[in-house]
């Protein structure tokens, strides 16, 4: 009896077991689905679960107000939060593999700041280019993220490695500078119009209320980004051996680096367009998944994407209900959770930091 339990324990402790892995992915997917349904029920105007279910299956269970709230406000917001969480977590995973450093979060290393500045240019300088709400801003956001991450990488890497201190300092300097550039654009905007409201919510990290066409554009960016990350995962495993060793084994190091920067930036930009500067999600989620699954990026990618969606959906649902009818920017909440977590990870890396 005890022997059997022991055996089950040791099997479940082995994260490489394929059946366990599939079970984990299945549970995460189910949790995300349930989370979406539950989040759709709660809010200032509650919607009972059975009415929601009937309405989603095509029935007429909701009154006009509930229908409006569900389909034009709540569901787009829910999808936006889940997608932003998945995008931030996956780009965090990619950047951590690239920098060979578990502290590389899109917010910490400045790619979110770059995406924000790019998007701000779209809103303030070139508003006439905007299509479907933020077609051009999304594109400029990607460009901004690529530029900032390339800059941080060049500043922080020493012989292909990025020491923690160099990465944090370069990331801090670049992201602070970029955020204040965006703030400067906001101040210089004279008409105090819609652009300013958008930027202010971006700076605080609030999930937007996108329209369905906007959501479709961003969903495409997120899905393309995650799909394009799959062939990179095995390369990131090889890159963990160090650049020279990886190059000896036949990895195209420079190509891999460029691909990770472009795809990570695409995902960061999509996340910024959905919710602005949301800190630490890209740090917490990959780290938790690594604790369960180990460091293999191939396995981490799908789990990280799903868990990121769940995490930010949960955080955003709390953020919009905890002080209802008012609401908290979700960025405040993730900073409350993520800040101490970041310090904990920094403490783990202390030997390297203060060596």
């Amino acid at each position: 009896m005890t022997g059997k339990i022991e055996r089950i324990r040791s099997e479940s402790a082995a994260p490489s077991h394929p059946a366990r892995y599939r079970l984990l992915l299945g549970s995460l997917a189910l949790a995300l689905l349930l989370g979406i349904l539950l989040a759709a029920c709660v809010g200032v105007v509650p919607i009972p679960m059975h009415d929601l279910a009937r309405s989603l299956l095509g029935g007429q269970a909701l009154n006009a107000d509930q229908h409006l709230i569900l389909f034009t406000i709540r569901l787009p917001r829910i999808f936006a939060a889940a997608m932003a969480g998945a995008a931030l977590s996956v780009s965090g995973l990619l950047f951590q593999g690239l920098f060979r450093n578990p502290l590389a979060d899109p917010y910490v290393i400045g790619s979110s700041g770059g995406a924000l500045l790019g998007a701000s240019f779209g809103v303030f300088i070139l508003p006439q280019l905007s299509m479907a709400g933020f077609g051009a801003t999304a594109l400029l956001g990607v460009l901004g993220a690529i530029c900032s991450i390339t800059l941080v990488y060049m500043l922080a890497s020493v012989n292909g490695r990025t020491p923690v201190v160099a990465l944090l300092l370069a990331g801090f300097a670049v992201s602070t500078m970029l955020s204040y550039c965006s703030y400067f654009l906001e101040v210089m905007d004279h008409d105090f119009g819609a652009g300013m409201r958008v930027l202010s919510s971006w700076l605080h990290g609030t999930i937007n209320q996108p329209t369905w066409p906007q959501l479709a554009v961003l969903a495409a960016m997120v899905l393309v980004g995650i799909a394009a990350s799959f062939p990179l995962t095995r390369r990131l495993n090889t890159l963990a051996l160090g650049e020279e060793y990886a190059a000896h084994l036949g990895l195209h190091v420079q190509q891999t680096r460029i691909a990770v920067i472009v795809i990570g930036s695409l995902l960061t930009a999509a996340a910024v367009a959905l919710g602005g500067l949301i800190s630490f999600v890209g740090l917490i989620v990959p780290h938790m998944m690594r604790m369960i699954l180990g460091p293999d990026h191939v396995r981490l990618l799908p789990a990280t994407a799903l868990a990121g969606g769940i995490f930010l959906l949960f955080a955003d649902t709390v953020a919009r209900t905890i002080i209802a009818p008012s609401e908290l920017p979700v960025g405040v909440l993730t900073a409350f959770i993520g800040g101490p977590f970041f310090l904990y990870l920094l403490r783990q890396a202390k030997r390297e930091v203060f060596a």
Partner: protein, 260 residues
């Protein structure tokens, strides 16, 4: 017999320093060569040139008669495996996951490892006696374990030539002898070996040839008996003469004295 690897009038210089000017040598398919020389004479550089990770300034390196720079690094890595001196792995990869990286030159862009890939990994771990370490974290291994696991990664590449960079450094005498045993076993499996060695006492009886690098001089080649002569060593390593018999008949007690 055509050589497995051939250096022809090989020259290499870093920005401010010339390492080789015209080095000529070849590695036969059944070679076991110890590369010796004082610190900074270019042992690691020569191994990197042989593995294709450094490009020569002039001259070239030929694998089965084909110049390395005409071959893709994937092709090279299927024939030549370089086991570096220091490996720093980020994140807590297990020994199994680490050794699997040796299959990188065989894997296609999409899709995972085939049965043949898994067999190669398994075989490499059996040869190096590392199967029992497979679920340990690589970064937490001891020096001796780490060295064997690094060699397992190299063997997973299924190479004809294994390049070992200071395989016995930082190992205690027991682990050094363990490693020497492994090198002998690999020779029996028909894998050619070129290893840079600091521990001169371990060369005799294991390696059939010694290449001696000395700054500003052409490469010396010969049998261990010819090369490990006290007068030659004291000149090349720039140190007082060593007593002769010590080098040729290594014993555990004396090994400390002759470390050069």
């Amino acid at each position: 017999m055509t050589p497995l690897l051939r250096f022809s009038s090989l020259g290499f210089s870093f920005a401010d320093r010339t390492i080789f000017t015209a080095l000529d040598a070849s590695v036969p398919p059944d070679a076991s060569i110890a590369l010796v020389g004082p610190n900074g004479c270019g042992k690691t550089t020569l191994l990197r040139l042989a593995a294709g990770t450094l490009k020569p300034t002039h001259g070239d390196v030929r694998l089965h008669g084909k110049s390395l720079h005409t071959l893709s690094q994937r092709t090279i890595a299927r024939s030549i495996a370089l086991v570096p001196q220091n490996v720093e792995v980020s994140f807590g990869f297990t020994v199994q996951q680490f050794v699997e990286q040796g299959r990188t030159p065989y894997l296609k862009m999409f899709g995972g490892m085939s049965v043949a890939d898994r067999d190669a990994v398994e075989h490499a771990m059996e040869l190096t006696d590392t199967c029992s370490l497979r679920s340990r974290i690589f970064n937490q291994l001891s020096g001796g374990e780490r060295q064997r696991v690094k060699i397992a990664l190299g063997l997973a590449q299924q190479p004809s030539l294994l390049l070992l960079d200071e395989p016995t450094q930082h190992l205690d005498i027991g682990r050094q002898l363990e490693l020497i045993d492994l090198v002998k076993r690999l020779r029996r499996h028909g894998i050619a070996i070129l290893a840079s060695m600091h521990e001169l006492t371990l060369i005799e009886g294991v390696f059939s040839q010694v290449w001696m690098l000395s700054p500003g001089e052409p490469l010396r080649q010969g049998s261990p008996q010819e090369m490990l002569r006290p007068d030659l060593l004291s000149r090349v390593f720039d140190c007082p003469p060593l007593s002769g018999p010590v080098l040729l008949k290594p014993s555990l007690k004396q090994s400390e004295r002759v470390r050069v």
